[in-house]
Symmetry: C2
Subunit: 196 residues, 2 copies
């Protein structure tokens, strides 16, 4: 099996595609031409098996804005969502976690231990690394972050929906989130009370 | 001009591609098969004109792990990089900002004012939204974050490089970063002293 490309190889590929590269319009040109921007933000994992262009069958780059981090976790992306909404204006958000995610195979504590073994005290107990214990729960929690953030425009938060992408079937399945079922909020509060 | 697809349309597209979807291997299966993971992390902007698959001519998903946020800013992605490195093991990082980036057309202060006009006091003076004043500087600063983070493995930080993608020519150009030129670090310290 061949090795994956290094940066040098990727830069060589960049040079080789210059000849066929089609220039992108400047923002000012796109605006002057009345180009309609995407209206959906897709937040998903950086896992190489999880490609929104494939699983949402995106036909054009303008079909969606794609934010990708480890797990597709919303927490570190709230300010990005706000910036996109203020600057471009967005209408809906899809939070898409996926089956067999790497984040379900480690815990934040495991990563903290590795990092602190290298540089003692470099990460505190509150350091998180996107770890997911329960996939549906993580989707619910992440959608919840947007619904309750004072920074996110209310109408956009209300149009945020949670999903799980099944890497085996290819299906994107909706997850019932707290706001869709007020009883779930109550159950969650009860469970969290029991944990204390 | 037609409107961009909404979530409902994207879910319809997902359903329509199920028939031709090829199942992805589970992590355990990939590991058992001795599959070699990607070795490069590409950090870049979520701008629809900036597609690393296109500008780095990625031939397979396994060519690189792609992290995307507003501007391709490293700050909110440090823990993601650590998680990827501990869980998979990474060799190099490319930080790729781009010309005509939306982040160069607004300031963090502009976004703070919009958000605080909606919900007074919801974002403080330290709230940042990825705004970039000087493109080369932002690349240098972001590479610098990794070089100086106690969380990032030293060898990986040393193999972090900064680039600017030109949306008109398609070229990815290297940016000389602080660590490559110690004199730049000195100049920066002097400039920051002068600002005080």
């Amino acid at each position: 099996m061949s090795s994956p490309p290094d940066i040098k190889a990727l830069l060589d590929r960049n040079k080789s595609q210059i000849q066929t590269f089609s220039s992108k319009p400047l923002l000012s040109e796109a605006k002057a031409a009345g180009t309609i921007p995407p209206s959906v933000i897709v937040i998903t994992c950086c896992d190489i098996r999880v490609d929104p262009v494939e699983f949402l069958h995106l036909k054009a780059a303008s079909d969606a804005v794609i934010l990708r981090n480890v797990g597709g976790r919303v927490g570190p992306l709230v300010n990005d969502i706000v910036a996109l909404d203020v600057f471009i204006g967005m209408k809906e958000i899809m939070v898409v976690h996926h089956t067999d995610c790497g984040t379900t195979h480690y815990s934040d504590q495991m990563i903290r231990e590795v990092v602190n073994a290298r540089v003692p005290g470099s990460v505190g107990q509150d350091g998180t690394f996107g770890a997911i214990e329960d996939l549906e729960q993580s989707v619910r929690d992440d959608v919840d972050i947007l619904k309750h953030s004072p920074l996110v425009r209310t109408e956009l938060a209300e149009h945020t929906h949670g999903f799980i992408f099944d890497i085996e079937s290819g299906l994107v399945k909706a997850v019932q989130t707290y706001s869709q079922d007020p009883a779930l909020v109550q159950i969650r509060v009860l469970i969290e009370d029991m944990k204390r």
